[in-house]
Symmetry: C2
Subunit: 358 residues, 2 copies
């Protein structure tokens, strides 16, 4: 492994439309990418996975050559303005030695829930070292060499969302076990959230140093929290997760950070308050309303994934409205309000890119 | 079967604290009940179900004697201010002949998704007749005879939530299939939503006529909708579902109606706009914020179910805050922000009732 002599942000991607928009400017071209663009919607993805049917989802993420190929697929096909690393938010947990796997059709499943004092103390005793992220940083290096002027986005799960999975042991609707823990034993919760934040923070920093031009923190389940709980029990950990990249001088400056959650209409100012440069907004709230809630913050989003299955004129009208709404923010990156559904016709995504670039 | 000579609202329950609060007044005692109070949190429920292990969940709901017993259990144990019929939102679908069952640990599962033209046309051709609700109205009659001054709440699923289950065929996180249908084929969606609304409307009216003192429309998944979609594609059907009870003269007056959804911070005025008397609010938004969003509307809620597992002083402080926040609405019925989690210690629920009544 080697550190790139020139970080992409120092050269190739410094003025990419994505980076311009993330920095609150209005590039000539509206940048667009899609959450989960590398994945099951693409036949070439399904083929690449089928060719390695011997390994599971997480092993695929940890194979630098395979992860690189899968990450590049949507860039080649759609002409999107960013690549996002093919990975999963539980990858750093796996690399830290936590027994977790992705059960098809279910999501992350842990060998056992991590919710009692013993389990959490064992977890937080695990060392966090940059070297353990090598399979991912190696993919980042392979990718940035291939991508040239197209920025690569690194990402990590936010402490609450990761903790919600660990405490429950699997996906859940209301994240009750994690939300109960934070009230039942705030000290234990803080230990869990802080370790997870340090892990995510180190993971984001490793990706940024290896060549990622931006990073995104996914707090998918933050929307289940009342605002006072978010502020008191979750925001400090999310701030901690973003801090290493925020504070690092990389390529002579900073790497833009994005913060995203689902169902966060009641939380936007608080999500914006943890220190990311850009806020990702899901489909429930218009970007006009979001821009009013967090004035001055560049926004990313928020095509409703449900519209991807509608006839093109209906979808195109919706995309036009999202673009108009996004114009109220100081910078706007077009994206979906949530991940690409697996059944999506990829041709529709290409048309959206063409429309955004027209 | 017989119609009661005197409807409870004409006598026994007319001045019950619940009904007073639903009508926007401040009774001497703060009324409290819990969504899913009749259910797995109670050992006597588990015993009653185990004694009839030969039948499934929906069959238990359709056995008037068993449903009556289960409905009464939390009233006896906790001293709550209302009984809510032990039932499920898919019961009227089952009674209309739709093949649906409750899979333990999953939720409603349909023999096949109802989402194409043929499936929806078959569905909406099914007749809706008050007689088909007999197993439920019989339970309502048995219950009101037992309950005396304690009101019974009837309920139904709102058209969007029921349609989301039918179109997906099972529970889903984002209700994408239903939300896609409404954009891809609004006419077909409207046919589905209108039939479902007429079914729920007839079901609510049958329960009210049989003796229920109030009814609640559950639109659990409405929060997944952007407000413009809710207003255009869902609200008319929800209004239609509430109309029969709203327009009926029962017991010389009207039966109060409650409307509830989850994750609706961005939708409260729209939910209140479909014509219910009372708005149920989940745990994400304080009742102070809700009262600001829908001034003049009595509110129900919104203890965070996650707090039920916290030490009593923490929970008690939270309940006190909910009661204080609720005082900003013209009427307040204390409840959870969502259903009782199955693992809840029932003693905690009794303590909340005692606290509310103190």
């Amino acid at each position: 492994m080697h550190t790139p002599t020139i970080h992409p942000l120092e050269g190739a991607t410094a003025l990419a439309p994505l980076i311009e928009a993330y920095r609150g400017r209005r590039p000539d071209r509206l940048p667009v990418w899609f959450m989960r663009q590398a994945g099951r919607s693409l036949p070439e993805y399904r083929a690449a996975r089928a060719a390695r049917a011997d390994i599971g989802m997480l092993e695929a993420c940890l194979d630098p050559a395979l992860a690189t190929e899968i990450t590049l697929q949507p860039v080649r096909r759609h002409g999107v303005d960013a690549a996002i690393l093919f990975s999963d938010i539980v990858i750093p947990l796996r690399l830290a030695g936590v027994e977790v796997d992705i059960a098809p059709g279910v999501g992350p499943v842990f060998a056992e829930p991590i919710r009692d004092r013993r389990g959490i103390e064992e977890l937080v005793a695990r060392p966090i070292e940059e070297g353990m992220f090598a399979p991912v940083t190696e993919a980042v290096r392979l990718l940035t060499a291939e991508l040239g002027p197209i920025p690569l986005i690194g990402f990590a799960g936010a402490p609450f969302t990761l903790a919600a999975y660990m405490v429950e042991g699997r996906p859940s609707r209301d994240h009750l076990a994690a939300r109960t823990l934070m009230h039942a034993d705030p000290g234990l919760w803080r230990a869990l959230a802080d370790w997870t934040a340090r892990l995510s923070g180190a993971f984001l920093l490793a990706q940024a140093r290896a060549g990622a031009s931006a990073v995104q923190l996914f707090d998918s389940w933050a929307g289940s929290l009342p605002a006072p709980d978010y502020r008191r029990l979750v925001a400090p950990a999310s701030r901690l997760a973003l801090a290493p990249v925020r504070e690092a001088r990389i390529a002579g400056g900073t790497v833009p950070t994005v913060h995203f959650g689902v169902g966060t209409a009641h939380l936007l100012p608080d999500l914006a308050g943890v220190g990311a440069d850009v806020l990702g907004v899901d489909h429930r709230l218009s970007l006009t309303d979001a821009a009013r809630a967090v004035p001055g913050v560049p926004l990313q989003g928020n095509i409703d994934p449900a519209l991807l299955g509608a006839p093109w004129p209906v979808l195109a009208e919706h995309v036009h409205r999202v673009i108009e709404d996004g114009a109220r923010a100081p910078g706007h990156v077009l994206n979906l309000g949530h991940g690409v559904p697996p059944a999506t016709d990829p041709g529709v995504l290409t048309r959206i890119v063409d429309l955004a670039h027209a």
